[in-house]
């Protein structure tokens, strides 16, 4: 079952936020229809800035606007927002610790048919390396909306990773309690903990439910903030379940898996990292690619069975 893409929720949340805050501005680099900043453009044309296909300049413009008291939300595909722009984000936003929010859409292989050049698998790693940068990735559209609101309230640079492809939500619209830096236990369990972020959280939860039939009692943690990671929750899971599987639609080096490993490095338990490993993506329908790379529920079940005895 599919759901609303997080990019869609991002675009709509920008409009709602825009109604509340005059100082909010939105920048895009000729991708408004795809990143969904188009909604904001339609609602607040005077506060929407299309920088054209010039992401580096967009980053500097966002920085300059922030020095003048604006709260810029700057959007492009994750590949360009974080990849092409890494050094601009580091030096023009990160180093001066400016209040710029980066809404990076089309992350991961679920970009689909556009293929490897547009499937960013390293954005979480890159952004995590910038001091003071908050790095987040929502599990579903409901969490995405809450995240965008929290990002506005947070003083300082924020990177948010959104997807083109929608999955069935794990949250209930009327019962979401999102806090930056807090993970959330979606399912209790004692044998093993799966910590997931972003789009595959739903699949991880489904996988845990399926594995219950095999007698595995799995805890599932949704980790929407990669940095600062909820260290207490990770350490507690390590201590109580003794084994961790991480799941992310990202390189297994540098992203969530690495953040979890770093968190428990002094008191280690086995951590099995599931995600993309040292390859580029490829073209194909999103759901097929997620299945091919084992990031659907079936793939996560298989991974757990292979690695966790």
């Amino acid at each position: 079952m599919s759901g609303v893409a997080t990019r869609e929720a991002y675009g709509k949340a920008l409009v709602e936020l825009g109604k509340l805050h005059e100082d909010m501005v939105v920048l895009d680099a000729d991708l408004a229809n795809a990143t969904k900043t188009q909604y904001f453009k339609d609602a607040f044309p005077d506060r929407f800035i299309d920088c054209g296909i010039a992401e580096a300049d967009m980053t500097g413009i966002a920085a300059g606007l922030a020095t003048c008291g604006k709260v810029p939300f700057m959007s492009s595909f994750a590949m360009f927002a974080a990849g092409r722009n890494f050094e601009q984000v580091r030096n023009s936003i990160g180093y001066p610790h400016l209040n710029v929010k980066i809404g990076a859409t089309h992350a991961g292989i679920s970009v689909g048919e556009d293929g490897a050049t547009h499937q960013c698998l390293e954005d979480l790693a890159l952004m995590r390396e910038i001091p003071g940068m908050t790095v987040m990735c929502p599990a579903d559209d409901i969490e995405a909306k809450a995240m965008v609101f929290a990002a506005y309230e947070h003083e300082g640079p924020v990177f948010m990773r959104f997807s083109r492809f929608g999955v069935e939500p794990v949250h209930d619209e009327n019962n979401i309690n999102f806090q930056i830096g807090k993970g959330e236990v979606l399912r209790n369990g004692t044998d093993l903990t799966i910590i997931a972020t972003g789009l595959p959280v739903r699949a991880a939860l489904d996988a845990a439910n399926a594995l219950a039939a095999d007698g595995l009692d799995i805890r599932v943690i949704n980790m929407p903030t990669i940095k600062p990671i909820d260290a207490d929750l990770v350490k507690k899971a390590a201590a109580e379940t003794k084994r961790i599987v991480t799941v992310e639609e990202h390189w297994i080096a540098g992203g969530l898996g690495s953040a979890v490993l770093e968190t428990i490095a002094e008191n280690p338990v086995p951590v099995y990292r599931h995600g993309i490993n040292d390859v580029f993506g490829e073209s194909g329908p999103a759901a097929e690619l997620l299945a091919k790379y084992g990031l659907d529920a079936e793939g996560i079940v298989k991974f757990v069975k292979e690695h966790v005895k």
Binding site: R47, D57, T59, A63, G64, L65, T67, G69, S92
Partner: protein, 275 residues
């Protein structure tokens, strides 16, 4: 200030620049010295700034896009009263707030952190855009290197500023003709810069960037220019004022030793006496 007074001040700013780099034992004296007349005119005459209110939302803004010329920039800010001139001797020292490249978080009067070439001009464009959006009258100035203009981002920024008709933006190109690896032509010349900025819908003024009267006239013309941003192509002498540094590639990023420092300060003293 009278023009002659400004010339004297520029000479003081040069002394502070040389002193800062000498005490730092590293840094970029050549470009800094060449730009001291521009720094001085901007901070002592042109810009609406107040050392007592460095965060005034209505102040004019300045971004040193060619961030490596921090010694000259800091010396001008210090002489203008943003922080003690004596502190210039701590440039680049561990624990000093005077970082090797401009740091807006810690240095009073610095509007934007810069130093990674090509990025400062974009921030200046963002500041100018914010001014337009808010209906404010402040102006935004940025000093760009001619070598820096080899960065593609400079032209992304110029395209945006021209398209948006940001007439509150004034880009000053410090055209000293030299970059680290040699002359512009030997490396990868971005010339002709005037025609390029014109093509990006800027009003362009070409001046001698070490001539205080010419700087004054150009900035007044920029202020009077409506509907398009202005680019001032300021021909400068790299290392200006210090005999052995003038027009020398070798003094782009090197500090003088004690002997050289004394000679340089004597050169500047002599210039000061003649003013």
């Amino acid at each position: 200030m009278e023009i002659q007074e400004l010339r004297r001040m520029a000479n003081e700013v040069r002394k502070g620049t040389l002193t800062a780099v000498y005490h730092a034992k590293s840094g970029h004296p050549g470009g800094s010295l060449g730009a001291c007349d521009i720094f001085t005119y901007l901070f002592f005459e042109e810009m609406n700034i107040d050392p007592k209110k460095p965060d005034d939302p209505d102040r004019d803004r300045f971004v040193l896009s060619k961030g490596h010329c921090a010694p000259g920039y800091y010396s001008a800010l210090a002489n203008r009263g943003f922080f003690p001139v004596k502190d210039l001797e701590t440039l680049r020292h561990t624990g000093s707030y005077l970082q090797g490249h401009p740091d807006r978080k810690h240095i009073p009067g610095v509007d934007m952190s810069s130093g990674s070439l090509g990025q400062g001009i974009s921030a200046a464009v963002g500041m100018a855009l914010a001014g337009k959006m808010d209906g404010k009258n402040y102006r935004v100035y940025t000093l760009l290197g001619d070598g820096e203009s080899e960065e593609g981002q400079v032209w992304e920024a110029a395209m945006f500023a021209g398209n948006r008709k940001l007439d509150n933006l004034c880009v000053i190109v410090d055209n000293n003709g030299l970059q680290i690896d040699g002359t512009l032509e030997e490396v990868n010349s971005p010339m002709p810069l005037a025609e390029k900025f014109e093509a990006f819908n800027f009003h362009v003024i070409k001046i001698d960037g070490n001539d205080m009267e010419a700087i004054a006239a150009a900035l007044a013309e920029a202020r009077a220019t409506k509907g398009v941003p202005t680019a001032i192509i300021a021909k400068t002498v790299k290392g200006k004022g210090v005999s052995y540094m003038e027009n020398s590639v070798g003094w782009h990023g090197k500090a003088p030793n004690e002997e050289q420092y004394k000679v340089g300060m004597a050169d500047l003293e002599k210039i000061g006496e003649s003013l």
